[in-house]
């Protein structure tokens, strides 16, 4: 594995977005992974509709929260094509699902995997490099106050409450860390990103990690 790896360097990560006062992190992380893997596959990077997932993933609760696994499972089972963000813009509230015809272009997933990588974060690095940005669930209670730097404390595992997108890692410095894209806008953290120490399952980052396949 390379000492450092960042999918942003390969133009495969869309800009940081802002979920606003809506518990839709689960949709942002899932859509973020899909649009990245789509770009890695040779397509142009384009922002796909988070609102479509918020409105249509019926097993989840829209702005009241949801599960990344359930959202991915729904996308896989229904072969629902995600349309672009401009065709189905984000509203930061749950609305009625808008359907598009089968002939309408969009991006569908073929499969996904979800694993617990606790104690195996090196293998998780391998998955990131091999498959693309990873969807993960973390304990983000202390992130309310985060300004920047590498998180090493104040996070628990097994109490996850927030979905994020892991886009890279860096092991070249004293503290190896994951590069994580959040969905709270660019004013938060390191221009919308948060760094989490690799090893020790900090914030539960390795508890439930998904890779998507298109």
């Amino acid at each position: 594995l390379p000492d450092k790896f960042d999918w942003r360097d390969k133009a495969a990560v869309a800009p940081v977005q802002d979920q606003q006062a809506c518990g839709s992190c689960w949709a942002f992380s899932v859509v973020g992974a899909i649009q990245s893997v789509h770009a890695i596959g040779g397509s142009q990077l384009e922002q796909l509709s988070v609102q479509q997932v918020v409105d249509c993933s019926y097993q989840n609760a829209g702005c009241n929260g949801g599960s990344t696994t359930r959202a991915l499972n729904w996308l896989k089972q229904t072969r629902m094509k995600l349309v672009t963000q401009s065709e189905y813009p984000y509203k930061a509230k749950t609305e009625i699902c808008h359907f598009f015809s089968q002939s309408h272009s969009g991006v569908a997933i073929k499969n996904f995997t979800t694993h617990d990588f606790s104690g195996q974060e090196k293998a998780m690095m391998g998955q990131l490099v091999q498959y693309g940005p990873l969807v993960a669930i973390v304990d983000a209670v202390s992130w309310q106050d985060y300004l920047g730097g590498i998180i090493q404390h104040h996070c628990s595992s097994q109490w996850s409450n927030h979905a994020i997108l892991i886009v890279g890692y860096d092991t070249t410095g004293d503290i190896p860390y994951w590069i994580v894209q959040n969905s709270w806008g660019t004013r938060w953290g390191n221009e919308g990103y948060v760094y989490i120490k690799i090893g020790g399952n900090i914030c539960g980052i390795a508890d439930s990690v998904a890779a998507v396949f298109l």
Binding site: A123, V141, H162, S208
Partner: protein, 71 residues
């Protein structure tokens, strides 16, 4: 424009946040360590923050076996 009641509530949340920051930063001993302080969420109570921004439901995942499906 907020009512005086809401202003008081937000002010209290803000004061509590500053106390939290002192505690959280006490662990930040290295230059690269995380820093905690005032940001756009500082006038929210911890409960409000959880309700508004932490919307993921955790579902247990199988332990990674180290073997791919092909293997």
């Amino acid at each position: 424009e907020v009512s005086s009641e809401e202003f008081s509530r937000r002010h209290l949340s803000f004061q509590r946040a500053t106390i939290r920051h002192t505690y959280l930063n006490s662990f930040s001993t290295e230059t690269q360590s995380a820093k905690y302080g005032i940001n756009q969420f500082s006038d929210l109570s911890q409960e409000e923050f959880r309700d508004l921004y932490l919307g993921a439901v955790y579902e247990r995942a199988p332990l990674f076996s180290g073997l791919s499906v092909k293997e």
